[in-house]
Amino acid sequence: MENKLIVSLSPHVHGGDSVQKNMYGVLIALIPAFLVSLYFFGLGALIVTATSVAACLFFEWAIGKYLLKKPTTTICDGSAIITGVLLAFNLPSNLPIWIIILGALFAIGVGKMSFGGLGCNPFNPALAGRVFLLLSFPVQMTSWPVVGQLTAYTDATTGATPLALMKQAIHAADKSAAMDALNRIPDALSLLIGQNGGCLGEVSALALLLGLVYMLWKKIITWHIPVSILATVFIFAGIMHLADPEKYVSPVLQLLSGGLMLGAVFMATDYVTSPMSKKGMLIYGVCIGLLTVVIRLFGAYPEGMSFAILIMNAFTPLINTYCKPKRFGEVAKKK
């Protein structure tokens, strides 16, 4: 029969958006932060990121092919690259290669593929990998190279991060020790640009914010999660600072240091593990902000961002069940 027509249900057009477009969009948004980390950590940043991405891609391919026996490989969708980059961004730039590979195996193997791959994982794979490493290799994971050693890798000189200094101030024996620690914290401007130790991707708040602007412009994410996290941290940390400025640093420093910006912009906004409704996103963001400050100020660890996000990942299904989007017609009923 000639002129066979395709018959399918409406809609007959598609907006042209795709999983790849979103994933590669996130990768583009990660470029400024990567460039800054290269600038400050040089060779170490390059080795850690390259190892992490390569290992994540390999495990995604190998597990998909040999364990899950998927007919096509999923490494081209870009999500494994993102996991690789984000995992690297959450590691110190002097971490030995074998530890990075272990982290990638946990992130992709346990965090993602064991649940069925992209879209099915309850926890952010990169964060699962990071926390696994943090708990397994606490020494290697918390020795941070000082910025500016461009050719050093595992032999880099390490130093205290701003967050560690904040923790010191909180637990200081007397007032002068607290003041001493606080005085060693860099000022807000250098934190914004990135002149301080820490994981390689989190050093420059400015570069991360550039990424946020790009993702908002390309409509990859909405403002709800990052803004609610940052606002909550600012308000909560601000109240604590006002209550005891000698113990708790100003909220601006809290916002600009550690993994907060990286977490708020790139980790908490992970599609798969964050809530679906706008209301849910706001609740999720506020809770992450609260948990982060609680862990930072009162917990054992200097940084709480990754724990806060993972904890809230676990609550995401519950939030989805109880936070429904605003239904059409509900406004009218109240009147």
């Binding site: 027509l5 249900l9 809609p11 007959h12 057009v13 958006d17 979103n22 409704s277 239904r327 059409f328």
Partner: protein, 445 residues
């Protein structure tokens, strides 16, 4: 700030290829096939038999029930048979086949083009004339107009809203109708206002038709109580609930009738048909149809008799292109893919869209990545990702709780899904099943 509806929505490419193409009167077909079910509700009952001679405008079928509509012959000639034919839905449906001889119109129809402004008829007389003319909503839903003009007594109409949004991409029939028949439309709107006893009417037009907004605003100034409301371009603004929300900021509650907001919504084409029926005694037997597509030689707007085979209109635009993959009755967002192009036009045929093979292909569905873009796009505030998953798993009870029956099947979710998931297919399946569950429950009571 231009007005628009408050929740969700998407922006498909407009592709109004046939914009500003003057309305061409299509040739009368040699054989007309007039479907008996061209409206929502019971199909009409034929009142002619094989061999009967009919004229243009002769009533050939009576409404069969309250929600139903009369049907008139669009041609003159002899009834050849009453049989079934595959319609736009893909199912065989009963229809009256007429062999055309000449073009003789019923004498009662005023065929002059002079504008008749004054209407002395009472409300009841107007509604009766509209019912006798077989007018249905011409936006596509084809709800019998007289039913909409007689709301249940517990509701009070406060305003008429004219849907001149034409938010479907490609379609330009309403746009061109406004440019060519603005005065007639205004008289039609005035008659509709009289029919529901209100003194306020809003005509909603999207901002991508500035010439129509300007002309209609100018013409409306000569009529009492009619206001043209320019709207921000956003799909599905032509949805009845979305349009009421955009213009009056009132939202129809779940399961309630649109009239509960006090608004009676009519399509702009319907207003024109009302003018012709009431002022010119002309039943609804022809309408403006857009024939368009990227590969179509000459995208056009036709005034075509109802029952014309779509093939004839496509041929008038340069024929079916070589690379045709899909032919759609209606627009690309909500239209129905046709099984063949011999399907006759009906009262609800607003357009014929021809897509090439590349456009016609759906992308391969992937796993949901939970990006929540469908939740942002849904104009009813539903969660298409969830409804899709529930439907896939056959959990229709939960689907009902998740308000699947609120779905207006606009397709915004599927349009926006990066993973190419067939979300609306799943929602339709669920709607069908849940609808049957609800009916079964009511039957038990």
């Amino acid at each position: 700030m231009l007005k628009t509806f408050s929740i969700g929505g998407v922006h498909p490419h407009e592709n109004k290829l046939s914009a500003h193409q003057p309305i061409i009167t299509a040739e009368v077909p040699a054989k007309a096939v007039i479907l008996l079910g061209q409206h929502i509700g019971a199909p009409a009952k034929p009142i002619v038999a094989k061999g009967d001679v009919v004229k243009v405008g002769t009533k050939i079928a009576e409404p069969a029930g309250f929600v139903s509509a009369a049907i008139h012959s669009s041609v003159s000639g002899k009834v050849a048979k009453i049989d079934t034919i595959v319609d736009a839905s893909g199912y065989a449906k009963p229809a009256i086949f007429i062999d055309v001889e000449g073009d003789e119109w019923e004498e009662t129809i005023d065929r002059s083009t002079t504008l008749v402004k004054e209407c002395e008829l009472s409300t009841e007389e107007i509604v009766k004339k509209i019912a006798d003319a077989g007018i249905v909503g011409l936006g596509g839903a084809c709800f019998p107009t007289q039913v909409k003009l007689c709301p249940p007594p517990s509701f009070k109409a406060e305003c008429v809203i004219i849907n001149a949004v034409e938010c479907e991409p490609y379609l330009t029939a309403d746009h061109q109708l406004m440019l060519e028949h603005a005065e007639e439309i205004m008289v039609g709107v005035s008659i509709l206002m009289k029919a529901v006893k209100v003194n306020k009417a809003f005509i909603g037009i999207e901002n991508n038709k500035p010439d129509a907004i300007e002309l209609m605003t100018k013409v409306a100034s000569g009529y009492a109580g009619i206001e043209v409301v320019p709207l921000k371009v956003k799909y599905p603004q032509g949805g009845e609930k979305q349009l009421i929300d955009a213009i009056t900021k009132r939202q129809v509650a779940s399961g309630a009738l649109p009239i509960s907001t006090g608004a009676v919504v009519q399509n702009v084409g319907t207003a024109f048909a009302v003018y012709e029926a009431v002022q010119k005694n002309k039943p609804l037997f022809e309408r403006v149809i857009t024939v368009t597509g990227k590969s179509v030689a000459k995208p056009s707007n036709f005034l075509a008799r109802i029952g014309t085979p779509m093939k004839q209109l496509i041929d008038a635009c340069g024929g079916l292109p070589e690379d045709t993959g899909k032919v759609i009755g209606g627009g690309p967002m909500m239209g129905k893919a046709l099984v063949n192009i011999e399907v006759p036009t009906a009262k609800g045929s607003s357009g014929i869209l021809i897509m090439n093979r590349k456009e016609a292909k759906r992308g391969e569905a992937q796993t949901c990545i939970r990006c929540a873009k469908c939740v942002s796009a849904c104009p009813m505030g539903l969660e298409p990702y969830l409804l899709g998953a529930l439907s896939e798993n056959g959990d229709f009870e939960t689907m009902e709780k998740e308000r699947i029956m609120d779905c207006i099947e606009c397709g915004s979710c599927q349009f926006t899904c990066p993973a190419n998931r067939p979300l609306l297919d799943y929602c339709r399946l669920g709607k069908g099943k849940v609808g049957a569950m609800i009916r079964a429950r009511q039957a038990k009571k």
